[in-house]
């Protein structure tokens, strides 16, 4: 829009641009009568807010949302991607449990691969993924346990696994420190103590770092405290991410667990009065901030989940990249309640969903 400042437009340029070129014409802007809101808009508003977000998105027929609704057009078939954001929500990988010398060892296997993912209906993204899904599996262990992750690189690019947590340098998964990059076809077993308890994440740390994250190599890593969090809850994992589909170093698509509008078109079903515990991770690349906001409710907020006392009671949190935390809330009423990034632009671009509270 640099042309906005160009006041020296000739008649010809003026006429030419009218036919649909890029030049924006402030002068003409002045000449055009500024009707406050177009008649049509008023009419549309009168028709029961068809333009309001999600104002008509049904549950069952979500795949065939009419043209009257906002959001993306069409739907993503989970079979195409090989994973369903609704399954990712409650899918925790606790590994294979072994006892070695009197202590518990959890063994995981993670394979990095090149894979095309449909991030918005009909829009494919050439991604890199851990175990064929974005986010990668939610690894879960208890503090003090031994974690052993065999990482196999089946991708055509070098990758690593870098865990947030406390561990020796060799297990840190950065290219600059041995063991460093795992070359295509290679593997490496990361091994460390699960500490400290809380909500962490893992991601590839190969360079260029932004690309290796933006392409999809990340996942949540939950370390439970020795004494379980009480009370028991309906536990959900939400990894806030985005995709730069046209390689302009900015995201075109925003989501929780990868697929734009996945929980908008088909709400997350929860029970009334039951405690809902959300493990919320922000891994969004290119944007400085992301946020989470829930409608008609408040939640206890445990940043990084490393303390058992809530630090805040709120309905909106802001997170930078790599920041994460645990939310606890109960829905006292049935019905549909929206949750979305309170960075409204992200919401319009896919990071928008519903809880459907049922008895």
């Amino acid at each position: 829009m640099s042309e906005l400042s160009n006041h020296k437009l000739s008649r010809r340029k003026l006429l030419g641009s009218a036919a649909g070129t890029a030049a924006a014409l402030p002068v003409l802007h002045e000449l055009v009568p500024h009707q406050q809101v177009h008649d049509s808009l008023a009419r549309a508003a009168g028709e029961g807010g068809h333009h309001g977000h999600g104002a008509g998105a049904g549950t069952a027929d979500a795949a065939h949302r009419g043209a009257a609704h906002s959001g993306a057009t069409g739907s993503v078939d989970p079979a195409v991607n090989g994973f369903d954001p609704h399954e990712i929500l409650r899918d925790f990988d606790r590994g294979r449990v072994k006892r070695e010398g009197g202590r518990t060892v959890r063994e995981f296997e993670i394979v990095a691969e090149d894979r095309e993912i449909e991030v918005a209906p009909g829009v494919k993204f050439a991604a890199w993924a851990y175990n064929g899904r974005i986010p990668g599996p939610t690894l879960r262990a208890t503090e003090g346990e031994r974690v052993r992750v065999k990482f196999v690189n089946a991708s055509s690019h070098p990758h690593t696994m870098h865990f947030h947590g406390i561990h020796p340098a060799r297990q840190d998964g950065v290219p600059q420190v041995p063991r460093g990059n795992v070359e295509p076809g290679g593997f490496f077993t990361y091994e460390f103590e699960a500490e400290p308890f809380g909500l962490h994440l893992y991601h590839c740390h190969s360079t260029p770092l932004a690309d290796h994250i933006a392409k999809g190599l990340y996942g949540a890593f939950v370390i439970d405290p020795k004494r379980r969090r009480r009370p028991k809850a309906d536990e959900l994992v939400m990894v806030m991410n985005g995709f730069d589909t046209n390689f302009d170093r900015a995201n075109e698509v925003y989501a929780v667990n990868t697929v734009a509008f996945a929980y908008h078109d088909k709400p997350v079903r929860v029970k009334r009065d039951e405690l809902v515990r959300i493990y919320l991770v922000n891994i969004l690349e290119f944007d400085l901030l992301n946020s989470f906001h829930v409608h008609a409710n408040f939640f206890d907020w445990y940043p990084t989940g490393t303390k058992l006392e809530a630090r805040d009671f709120t309905d909106t949190v802001i997170l930078g990249q790599g920041e994460r935390g645990i939310l606890e809330l109960r829905f006292p009423y049935t019905g549909k309640y929206m949750f979305h990034a309170h960075v409204s632009e992200f919401a319009d671009l896919g990071w928008m969903g519903f809880f459907e509270v049922v008895d």
Binding site: K13, G20, P33, G71, T73, T245
Partner: protein, 432 residues
């Protein structure tokens, strides 16, 4: 060699000539058929598909944005999502996948607000985005009778009326000193040169917004070439007719030119050039035709600008166009300045015809521009205008030679420069 020629000779004797001429084409067809039939051996698609789409037309209706797009690249393109101002929006499209050079219509449901700017991005199956800016949102007028009437009125204001008024300078140019007539002809050359260059630039710029695959800026030059040589042909035909109707062949035409030459005070040296130059009415006709083609392009630009709402038809703009185009009327009558007395009864009809030819295309242009705008077509039409004007300049040029046969003597140079400056100055009135 001789044997070969003999064979060829025998061959052409046995077969009709048209069949011999067709033979290489048939062989070419067979070769292509074989290549395609064998699955295009040796050619593998390398790399990712190239997705190029140009937006040729934007229509805004209440609560709706419609884009007419064309696949401009070598590969098919599938538009899967549409974003308006960084938000996914609901849309409908005709085809699932747009083949090369094919068009499609994308209908977006969007509560746009009048006067605001919108950035539309069409997202393809590969995640690529095709960006399109709507600079100022305004409802596209419905193409009904009233609308065409309004456009006709606009064409009348900016095209026909000014040209007609300009032509009313005829009595004046007939009254003034013949040397000044030559100056006016030179002035006309300046006016035309300005318009020609203007049309070329305008056409090239518009071509940039159209589908590259359809030719882009080369369309302007294609149009210019067609118009230039087409008009040369028309001129040749008119000459033939003129000499026939005059009855005495070329000699009569020449003698009239001699009178003209004597009238301008030049010597006998001009005769040779005069013979090569066009008759006054024919010259005027060519000027009118060239200006008419130019006004067609001008009308097109006005119509399309009005249709997308980025042109306010203010009084200033109409007045500006009127002053600007009045000079075009002068350009038409300058060649017939000292043709007084010839065919007095028919000259009024001719006079009106010239005005119509030069001004009426503006009306046609506004209709096309407002209802069926296409940048590639516009570029071609602007090219027509430029080419026509170039031909007209070539036709007029001989009549301004002086007794020594010089083209650019001081009077002519002054006239040309005055013409350029006049166009520039009146052009300022309409450059917002």
């Amino acid at each position: 060699m001789e044997a070969g020629q003999a064979t060829a000779g025998r061959l052409s004797r046995r077969m009709p000539a048209w069949l011999v001429g067709l033979l290489p084409l048939l062989l070419l067809g067979a070769a292509i058929g074989l290549f395609v039939g064998l699955g295009e051996p040796g050619l593998e698609r390398n790399g990712v598909p190239v997705e190029q789409v140009s937006v040729e037309r934007t229509v805004l209706r209440p609560g709706e944005i419609e884009l007419v797009v064309r696949n401009d690249g070598p590969d098919p393109v599938a538009i899967r999502q549409v974003l308006v101002n960084d938000a996914f929006v609901a849309f409908e499209q005709g085809a699932g996948e747009i083949e090369r050079l094919r068009g499609d219509t994308i209908t977006i449901e969007y509560p746009w607000i009048e006067g605001e700017a919108y950035a539309v991005a069409l997202m393809t199956a590969t995640g690529g985005t095709i960006d399109h800016a709507i600079d100022v949102a305004a409802e596209t007028p419905e193409a009904d009778v009233g609308f065409y009437g309004l456009m006709a009125l606009v064409g009348l204001y900016v095209g026909l009326i000014p040209v007609a008024i300009g032509m009313l300078w005829l009595p004046w140019v007939r009254a003034i000193d013949p040397r000044w007539v030559q100056f006016l002809l030179a002035l006309t050359l300046g006016l035309l040169a300005f318009l020609g260059v203007d049309a070329l630039l305008e056409g090239t710029e518009i071509a940039g917004t159209g589908a590259e695959a359809l030719g882009g800026a080369s369309l302007v030059f294609l149009g210019a070439g067609v118009a230039y040589f087409g008009l040369a042909g028309v001129d040749g035909w008119l000459r033939g007719r003129e000499s026939r109707t005059a009855g005495g062949g070329i000699g009569t035409g020449q003698s009239r030119r001699e009178t003209h030459a004597a009238g301008t005070g030049s010597g006998a040296g001009l005769d040779a050039h005069a013979a090569a130059s066009a008759g006054p009415w024919r010259l005027a006709l060519l000027v009118a035709l060239g200006i008419g083609l130019h006004n067609l392009g001008e009308g097109l630009a006005i119509g399309s600008a009005y249709a997308v709402g980025s042109l306010a038809l203010g009084a200033a703009l109409i007045v500006g166009f009127a002053l600007h185009n009045t000079t075009e009327g002068l350009a038409i009558v300058a060649p017939i300045a000292d043709d007084a007395g010839t065919l007095p009864r028919r000259s009024l009809a001719r006079f009106a015809g010239l005005g119509l030819l030069a001004g009426a295309p503006a009306i046609l242009g506004t209709w096309i521009g407002a209802s069926a705008y296409n940048p590639s077509l516009a570029a071609l039409l602007f090219g027509f205008g430029a080419g026509a004007i170039a031909q007209v300049i070539v036709q007029i040029a001989p009549s301004v030679r002086d007794s020594a046969g010089r083209l650019l003597h001081p009077l002519v140079a002054a006239g040309v420069v005055s013409g350029l400056l006049l166009m520039y100055a009146t052009g300022l009135l309409i450059s917002l």
